[in-house]
């Protein structure tokens, strides 16, 4: 189509009975570009922070298996994606100036011929979501590391995963994956991420706690060098250091590396070791054995077991059993179904450790309970049960 002239524009203004004196001098004559109807362009609505990512030259990645909902990942966040339809037509116009820009640039042409690059009635909408990290643990649990003496490792036909492998299998951003690897105490062995077999982990921990005891070191100042020297003949040095990092806080004092041991984490691991051997335990018997099993100077408390074990106060005698939050479903509704299948009515105190990880960015446990549970009073205490009948 021929480009419009100033005369034609003015004639149109006259026909439209618009007063040129009330308008800025510049006009944009809009036409559809050659590629406009091609559907090559689409729109992605950007959540806060993503615009800056793109302006910095960083990429975003859409990830998903064919049967999963797609997610979009930046370097450190994950978003659910969906197509939002508008009833309006959205046209994208390069080189189109706003009134401010026209006023600022007094020398701008009188006629700006702008070509519409494309149009759409929909766009991709994003919503920040929890990264889908349950799969990470599942993958690493396929082949837990049992130590260098394990014959299994040499003959292993199981998949082992590098960081790149994990990025191509898990719907999460790289930083979220790396952070979770730290949270679950994974370690890199020969370039692959591994989780320790629990028995091997306890064996390593036991070496360390026995050494602390025999050397009478304070729990807050365990020297790395001495540990490596004393235990280096029993286990690989990397494993000794790894167990210290997993169960302690590393710091440097006067040029030497020490660890402040996490009392709570050690007590919790020992509890897991005891509880995994039976379906449930008499609570008071368990508490006695547990206190005796932890290193000298440590005190056991039931609140160390949040998200790991559950006390049944309704049974006589009271019992305790292993219930690990990481073994429960990742999806909100499925998680609540699972919990209500285990126990019909929950107090907020008991259920919180098992739903805390479901909270979205600014969501509270209370909000989750309002959405997925129904409350009632039982013996003067507020309890939550399922909104739907559980078969």
């Amino acid at each position: 189509a021929a480009m419009r002239s100033r005369a034609e524009v003015d004639a149109t203004l006259q026909t439209a009975k618009l007063n040129p004196a009330e308008l800025l001098p510049a006009v944009h004559c809009l036409s559809f570009g050659p590629q406009a109807g091609g559907g090559e362009c689409c729109l992605l609505q950007l959540e806060p922070g993503l615009c800056a990512e793109l302006e910095a030259g960083r990429s975003l990645i859409i990830r998903g298996e064919k049967d999963e909902h797609a997610v979009l990942c930046s370097k450190d966040k994950t978003y659910d994606m969906k197509i939002a339809d508008t009833s309006n037509m959205l046209l994208f116009v390069p080189g189109c100036k706003t009134p401010e820009e026209l006023n600022a640039d007094q020398a701008s042409c009188n006629i700006i011929h702008s070509q519409i690059a494309g149009f759409s009635k929909n766009y991709w909408e994003l919503r920040r979501c929890r990264p889908k990290l349950k799969k990470l643990r599942k993958l690493l649990m396929e082949d837990p590391y049992e130590g260098p003496d394990s014959r299994k490792d040499q003959a292993s036909t199981f998949s082992k995963y590098t960081t790149e492998d994990l990025l191509s299998l898990i719907q999460a951003s790289e930083e979220e994956i790396l952070h979770q690897l730290q949270v679950i105490d994974a370690c890199k062995i020969e370039g692959y991420w591994r989780i320790l077999d629990f028995d091997y982990e306890m064996k390593l921990l036991n070496h360390v706690t026995q050494l602390i005891d025999s050397e009478s070191w304070p729990l807050s100042k365990v020297p790395l060098c001495a540990c490596l020297e004393e235990l280096g003949s029993l286990e690989p040095r990397e494993m000794i250091e790894h167990i210290l990092l997993s169960y302690g806080r590393k710091y440097v004092d006067d040029g030497e590396v020490f660890f402040e041991m996490h009392e709570d984490k050690i007590c919790r691991a020992i509890a897991q070791m005891l509880l995994q051997n039976a379906v449930k335990f008499n609570l008071s018997e368990f508490e006695e054995v547990w206190q005796q099993s932890v290193p000298e100077g440590m005190t056991t408390r039931l609140d160390q077991l949040q998200g790991l074990a559950l006390v049944d106060k309704s049974s006589r005698p009271e019992t305790i059993f292993l219930l690990k939050v990481e073994d429960l479903p990742e999806d909100n509704q499925e998680r609540f179904n699972s919990l209500f299948g285990i126990r019909e009515k929950w107090t907020e105190v008991d259920i919180t450790p098992y739903i805390q990880d479901l909270c979205a960015e600014k969501q509270t446990v209370g909000a989750l309970l309002t959405k997925y549970a129904r409350s009632s009073m039982l013996n003067g205490v507020k309890v939550y049960n399922s909104r739907r009948p559980i078969s």
Binding site: A1, V27, H28, L72, F92
Partner: protein
């Protein structure tokens, strides 16, 4: 798992475009596709109100700074692109849109004067 990369050339490579939001459909006057055909004239009043003349209609709109900007993605063809993550598709960010011209008011029809034959 499918991985689709959305790559960006950074601030230097990203143009700033504007979104025009119109009600309803846009159809060509003559038959044939839209490519190449005129849409209309976009003016601004001295107060900065956008005025769009499309066919026989005048549309008054407003300039809106988008709370959530848009990225315009263009699909990249070429299966022979080497990529580190084994990407199964590639989009490039061509432009960012931080402003839209929203035309929500009902179009005012332009009544053209039909000249009488003398």
């Amino acid at each position: 798992m499918v991985q689709i990369v959305i790559s960006s050339g950074g601030t230097g490579a990203l143009a700033q475009w504007v979104l025009l939001e119109l009600q309803g459909e846009v159809e060509p006057r003559q038959s044939g596709d839209l490519a190449g055909s005129l849409l209309g004239d976009l003016h601004y009043t001295c107060e900065g109100v956008p005025v769009l003349i499309v066919g026989h209609h005048i549309l008054y709109g407003k300039v809106v700074q988008l709370e959530k900007p848009f990225a315009v993605l263009v699909k990249q063809g070429g299966a022979s692109q080497p990529s580190p993550v084994g990407a199964h598709g590639h989009y490039a960010v061509t432009a960012l849109i931080k402003t839209k011209l929203l035309f929500k008011t009902r179009p005012k029809p332009i009544i053209t004067h039909v000249p009488k034959k003398v």
